[in-house]
């Protein structure tokens, strides 16, 4: 009798100890992973004299001069606008096209559609460099080099498969009766999809859209190959600053432009974090 009473207490205490260790270790690891981002933001507010010091300075008088300088430069502003255009364009196009085919795969009986679906799934293993060479040549020939639309279409190569498979698993989990009853009530297939399915799938659609836009926002290889001056994006600017070996790395510029690139993405990602994690899990298990 006594033993029974003691044991749970001891067990609880041991579990508690383990839990504390886990909490402390978890916080420590999180801080470790956040440090580079923290350091990037810190450095972006430093003057040159505060950057190149030993030991590295933790306290300094912050300056906005790097931001002021780079946000006034025409090429950076233009690239920022380009990145927005391309990310939104590619995101919206692929969510519409990808959600429709994802729905087709989930709910509509189509002979042979499954084969297409599998082929598209397999295409996620195609390295972008395999597409970059011919795209560059074709875009040049057709006069489409350095255009937003070229980059938007190039991003569809990886965004549509991503959206399609993610939304397919989302649509599969919806109850079938939803559109069946709508279609019995005289809705067309389009009506059932756009008036019934799309509205209730809004959270999933929105988070997939945001994640697609993030992927397009960060893409470097296609942007490097397919754009030049007119349609070039922020990652290209950063690659340029980081790879500038003539003047040496301009850390203030690198971190300021880096921060400008990262901040909007972080805000959006945190807004949809719950759905983002769910989407990741679904992508891993059902993709």
């Amino acid at each position: 009798m006594v033993q029974v009473a003691v044991q749970p207490e001891r067990q609880a205490r041991r579990k508690l100890g383990g839990r504390h260790v886990r909490i402390v270790a978890g916080v420590a690891v999180s801080l470790l992973f956040l440090f580079p981002v923290f350091w990037m933001v810190m450095t972006s507010f430093k003057q040159q004299v505060d950057i190149f010091t030993t030991p590295p300075k933790l306290f300094f008088t912050p300056t906005f001069s790097t931001y002021a300088e780079y946000l006034q430069r025409a090429d950076i502003v233009r690239r920022l606008i380009n990145t927005v255009i391309v990310a939104v364009g590619a995101g919206v196009l692929s969510i519409i096209v990808g959600a429709m085919s994802g729905y087709a795969l989930a709910r509509i009986k189509l002979r042979g559609a499954h084969t297409f679906g599998l082929l598209i799934l397999l295409s996620r293993g195609v390295p972008p460099i395999a597409l970059a060479v011919p795209m560059f040549l074709v875009a040049r020939k057709m006069g489409l080099a350095d255009q937003h639309i070229t980059l938007i279409l190039a991003y569809c190569t990886f965004l549509i498969p991503y959206v399609m498979w993610l939304m397919r698993s989302f649509f599969v989990s919806l109850p079938r009766e939803l559109e069946e009853s709508a279609m019995i009530d005289g809705c067309s297939r389009y009506g059932a999809f756009f008036k019934i399915i799309v509205p209730i799938s809004m959270p999933g659609l929105l988070s997939t859209l945001i994640f697609s836009m993030i992927l397009a926002w960060e893409e470097l290889l296609f942007a490097l190959v397919l754009t030049n001056r007119f349609a070039s994006t922020m990652p290209v600017a950063i690659a340029g600053i980081a790879g500038d070996t003539v003047n040496g790395a301009n850390w203030a510029a690198l971190t300021a432009v880096g921060t400008i690139t990262v901040i909007p993405v972080v805000i959006f990602a945190l807004l949809v974090q719950k759905w983002l994690i769910q989407g990741l899990a679904d992508g891993a298990t059902k993709g």
């Binding site: 886990r22 916080v27 992973f33 350091w39 450095t43 297409f116 395999a130 950063i238 690198l254 990602a269």
Partner: protein, 303 residues
Amino acid sequence: MTDAALARRRNHGKWKDLLVRWSFMLPTIVLLTAVLAYPLFYTLQISFSYFDMSIFGAGEWVGWENYETVINDYRFWESLRVTLIYLIIALPLQVALGFGIAFLINAEWGGRGLLRALFIIPMVVAPVVAGGVWRMILDPLWGTMNFLLGLVGIGPFDWFGDPQLAMATIIIIDTWRWTPFIVLIATAALLALPRDVFEAAKIDGASWWATLWSVALPLLVPIIAATFVIRWLGAVKLFDIVLASTFGGPGKATSVINLFIYEEAFRSFHFAESAAMVMIVLVLTMILTGLFLRGSRKLEELY
């Protein structure tokens, strides 16, 4: 109305329905044929052709010549070797770290949600930014890393000058950028584990280690395998981080295959040879991806 007219009408409706059904799939098929299938076939054509600079396109057919050139190029093999080393070290490391950290940050307390949210941040830092910022942190002269290591009496290291260290640098940056992604997948997986099994194990008096090894792990094997496949699909695309941090150096020590092909195509304008390399890499990737997908399905059935 005659029977024939009725039948025609029904038939018409059937065709219309078929058209409507396919119209959901069609935009994807058309777009991906144009931007994915067509470029791949064009690459295939270029890989068997002489590249004509005057028309900037595929010239006459040369058979396997480009492939022979590539296979006899030691730099190509060197680049494949470097890529393989990266994959063999980085992938298991990231998957193991990701699941380990997920276990840590899932301890139940008030700040759990916050920690999970914080792990989203490195995951959405553009890889090219990650490369650039880490280049700054690891700078041999002014970098924070060497300073911090110096405090505990280690180093200084020349992170970008030594071939092996440069590879370690790439793996460190890549691991920093991608482990959070695995942490989040693993977190969702851990939360989805059935609680009653663990309670049963506890009642049976299983030790903590035994519970982890023979209860949790088998349940997690399918998702670990799936995570591995997803990470593999991302890892074969490694490019941005290398471009922004080591640029393939020193020498060609970190010139992973994507960077090497990029340089050959767009700096040296060896489009035909690049196309041949692309086809070889594509076939290798497809075979391995197929194998991994199969393997992960098998594991899923097994457990």
